[in-house]
C-alpha cells in the first residue's frame, strides 16, 4: 500500500519529497511494532543533522550572490576572448562559459538559466536554430555539477564511507573538461554558419584585456575555494562560507551590483532553493532507514555479487541502470536511494570508490537533459519556447556525445583517478 501511495503521489504531481514522506507516514502509522509514526520525523532530523551538509546551502548562496553581481556577462566576455573567434565561436563561448560558471555555482540548472538567457536569443540572431541553441545550453550546463565545487559531489561523499570530498572534487576536473572538449569538437564539426565574427557581439565593445581582467575576479573564487579545500586548509563547509564572504565582497563592495537591501531577498531565496534539495535528502534518509532495517541493501548486494562476476559487467549494468533511472527520477533522489546499495558492491568488485563516484554523478547529470524529468531541458524550454518535442530532438546528438564521454571515463579509469593520484589522494 505504501508503494501504491508513493507511485500515485508521484503520478498526480506531488512533489517528490512529500510523496516519499506520505508513503512513509502511512507505512509507519499503519504498521506493527517496531514501526511508529515518530520514526519519520526522527530519521528526517537525523538525515540532515550534519555539519558537512551545510556546504550545500552555503554554496547555493555563494552562487546566488555571484549571479546577482552581474557575473554572467563578465564570464561570457572572458570566454569570448578565449574561444569566440574560432569556428562556431558563439556555440564555443556558450560551452566554455558553462565551464567557468561551473566553478562558481556547482548547479547545472542555475547555469542553464543564467547562460541561456543570454545565449539562446543571441545565437538565434546569428543564424543558429533556436532549438539547437537551447539544446546546447542545456547540454553544456551538465558540466556544472562535475567540475568543483559541486553539490552532488558533497551529497555523494555524505552518502557513502571511504570517499572524501576533496578527492571527488579533483577527480571531476578531467571528466568535466573532457566533456567540454568533446562538445566543442562536435559543434565545430557540425556547425557551418558561424565563423567567429558574430561572437564579437558579446564583447559589448570591451577590449580583450578588459574582458580578461573582468573575468579574473569571478575565476578567483573557485580557485581560492577549491584550492583551500585541496590543500587541507579548510573543510568544504568552511570553504563554502568563505565563498559566500568573497561573493559578498565582490557583489556589494567591488562590482556594487548588490545593495544591502537586496540581501534579505537573496538569503531567503537561497534557503528556499536549498530546502528543495535538502528535504529530498531528509525524506530519502527516512526511507533508507526502512530499507536498511529490512536488510534490502544486503539482499540486493548478495544477489548482485552472485550474478555479476566482473567489474566490466557491473559498470555496464550501472551505466544502463542510472541512464534509465535518470529518465524518471530526479538525480539527487536517485543517488540517495541507489548509491548506498551500489557503492559497497562496486568496492567489493575492486572498483575505485572515487572513480565510481564520478561515474555515478556524471551518469545522473546526463539525466538533466533527458525527458521527461530533465530539469535543464525544462529551464531551456522555458527560455526558448520551442516546444519540448523539438528541443528533445535537438538535444539527442549532445546526449550521444555525453554518453560517449561517460563510456570513456567509465572504462578508462585513469581519466578520473589520474589527477587525484597525482595530487596524493
Amino acid at each position: 500500500m505504501a508503494i501504491a501511495i508513493l507511485i500515485a503521489g508521484l503520478a498526480i504531481g506531488m512533489p517528490i519529497a512529500f510523496a516519499i514522506v506520505a508513503a512513509l507516514l502511512y507505512f509507519m502509522a499503519a504498521g506493527d511494532f517496531p514501526y511508529q509514526l515518530r520514526i519519520v520525523a526522527t530519521e528526517m532530523f537525523k538525515g540532515v543533522n550534519s555539519y558537512p551538509l551545510l556546504a550545500i546551502p552555503l554554496f547555493i548562496l555563494a552562487g546566488e550572490l555571484m549571479n546577482a553581481s552581474g557575473i554572467t556577462s563578465r564570464i561570457i566576455a572572458f570566454a569570448n576572448v578565449l574561444v569566440g573567434r574560432l569556428r562556431a565561436g558563439l556555440a564555443l563561448v556558450n560551452i566554455w562559459a558553462s565551464v567557468i560558471f561551473a566553478g562558481l555555482s556547482g548547479s547545472a540548472v542555475a547555469d542553464t538559466s543564467a547562460i541561456g538567457r543570454v545565449f539562446i536569443p543571441e545565437m538565434e540572431k546569428h543564424g543558429y536554430n533556436r532549438a539547437y541553441a537551447a539544446a546546447l545550453t542545456a547540454a553544456s550546463s551538465v558540466i556544472g555539477p562535475i567540475i568543483p565545487p559541486s553539490i552532488p559531489v558533497i551529497i555523494y561523499a555524505l552518502t557513502v564511507t571511504g570517499v572524501s570530498v576533496p578527492a571527488l572534487f579533483v577527480a571531476g576536473v578531467v571528466p568535466g573538461v573532457l566533456l567540454a572538449i568533446f562538445l566543442s569538437v562536435y559543434v565545430m564539426a557540425t556547425v557551418k554558419i558561424d565563423h567567429g565574427a558574430e561572437a564579437e557581439a558579446l564583447s559589448s565593445g570591451q577590449s580583450a584585456g578588459k574582458a580578461l581582467i573582468g573575468g579574473i575576479v569571478p575565476l578567483l573564487m573557485p580557485v581560492f575555494v577549491v584550492g583551500s579545500i585541496l590543500m587541507g586548509v579548510v573543510t568544504p563547509t568552511e570553504a563554502a562560507s568563505f565563498a559566500v564572504a568573497y561573493a559578498l565582497i565582490v557583489g556589494v563592495g567591488f562590482y556594487r551590483q548588490i545593495r544591502i537591501s537586496d540581501l534579505p531577498r537573496i538569503f531567503a531565496s537561497s534557503m528556499r532553493d536549498s530546502a528543495v534539495i535538502v528535504v529530498i535528502i531528509a525524506a530519502v534518509a527516512a526511507a533508507n532507514w526502512l530499507l536498511t532495517y529490512n536488510r534490502v541493501p544486503n539482499d540486493v548486494t548478495a544477489w548482485v555479487l552472485t550474478n555479476v562476476d566482473s567489474q566490466f559487467s557491473f559498470l555496464v549494468v550501472v551505466i544502463l541502470l542510472f541512464l534509465f533511472v535518470g529518465l524518471f527520477l530526479e538525480g539527487i533522489a536517485a543517488m540517495l536511494v541507489l548509491v548506498p546499495i551500489l557503492h559497497p558492491i562496486a568496492v567489493s568488485l575492486g572498483v575505485d570508490p572515487t572513480h565510481f563516484g564520478i561515474v555515478v554523478i556524471f551518469n545522473l547529470m546526463i539525466g538533466l537533459i533527458t525527458p521527461p524529468l530533465g530539469l535543464c531541458l525544462f529551464v531551456a524550454e522555458g527560455i526558448a519556447q520551442v516546444g519540448m518535442a523539438r528541443l528533445t530532438r535537438a538535444v539527442l546528438p549532445f546526449f550521444a556525445v555525453e554518453v560517449l564521454v561517460l563510456v570513456i571515463i567509465t572504462f578508462v579509469p585513469e581519466t578520473v583517478i589520474g589527477l587525484p593520484r597525482l595530487l596524493g589522494y
Binding site: 498526480i12 543533522n49 555539519y51 531577498r265 538569503f267 531567503a268 528535504v279
Partner: protein
C-alpha cells in the same frame, strides 16, 4: 525591511523571513568560527552544532516557502497529458494531500520530541548554562535541550500544512474567477 517587499501573503513573509534569517545566522556563525579558528586558533564549542540546528529550522521554513512559490521538484510526465483545467484541479487535490502530510509530519515531530526531547545538546549545554546564569534567565536553558531543536520538525510540518492550505485557497480563488 526588504524581505517584506517582495512577497505579499503574510505566510510567505513569515516563511521567507524564517528561511532568510536562518541562512544569515548559519553563514555568520560558520564564517566567524572558521576565521577565529584560523587566526587565533580557537573556535566556539557551539560553532558546529548551532548552525546545523539553524539550518534544519531554515530548511523547514524553506520547504514551506518553496511550496508557496511552487518550487518543489515534481514528476510531471502524467499530468502534462491533461488539460490545464484538469491539471489545476489535480494540483488542488495535491495541496490537500500535502496539507495532511504536513499535519502528520508535525504530529510525528511531536512524538519525536516527546520521546527524545529531554536529551541535552553536548555542544550547547555549557554555554547556554553560563548564559542563563549570567543573565538570571533560567528559561534560556531550553536552548540546551534537543527538544527545542527537534521541534523544527513540528514547526516545519505546521508551516507546510498552512502553506499547502494557502495554495489550495489560492487555486480555488483562481477557479472561481475563471468561472465568472
Amino acid at each position: 525591511m526588504a524581505i517584506t517587499r517582495f512577497s505579499k501573503s503574510p505566510l510567505t513573509r513569515v516563511c521567507a523571513a524564517g528561511a532568510g534569517l536562518s541562512m544569515a545566522a548559519m553563514f555568520a556563525i560558520i564564517f566567524v568560527n572558521s576565521v577565529r579558528r584560523y587566526t587565533i586558533g580557537k573556535s566556539f564549542e557551539w560553532g558546529e552544532e548551532l548552525p546545523i540546528y539553524m539550518g534544519i529550522y531554515g530548511m523547514m521554513f524553506g520547504v514551506a516557502y518553496a511550496y508557496l512559490e511552487d518550487r518543489h521538484i515534481r514528476f510531471t510526465l502524467v499530468i502534462d497529458l491533461l488539460s490545464e483545467r484538469a491539471q489545476q484541479k489535480l494540483f488542488a487535490a495535491v495541496d490537500l494531500v500535502v496539507a495532511l502530510c504536513g499535519g502528520l509530519l508535525a504530529w510525528s515531530g511531536y512524538l519525536f520530541v516527546a520521546s527524545r526531547g529531554n536529551l541535552e545538546s553536548p555542544g550547547l549545554v555549557g554555554r547556554v548554562g553560563d548564559l542563563a546564569e549570567a543573565t538570571g534567565q533560567p528559561w534560556m536553558e531550553v536552548f540546551a535541550l534537543m527538544g527545542f531543536w527537534q521541534a523544527s520538525m513540528i514547526a516545519g510540518g505546521i508551516a507546510l500544512c498552512f502553506a499547502a492550505l494557502s495554495k489550495f485557497g489560492e487555486r480555488r480563488g483562481q477557479f472561481k474567477r475563471r468561472r465568472r
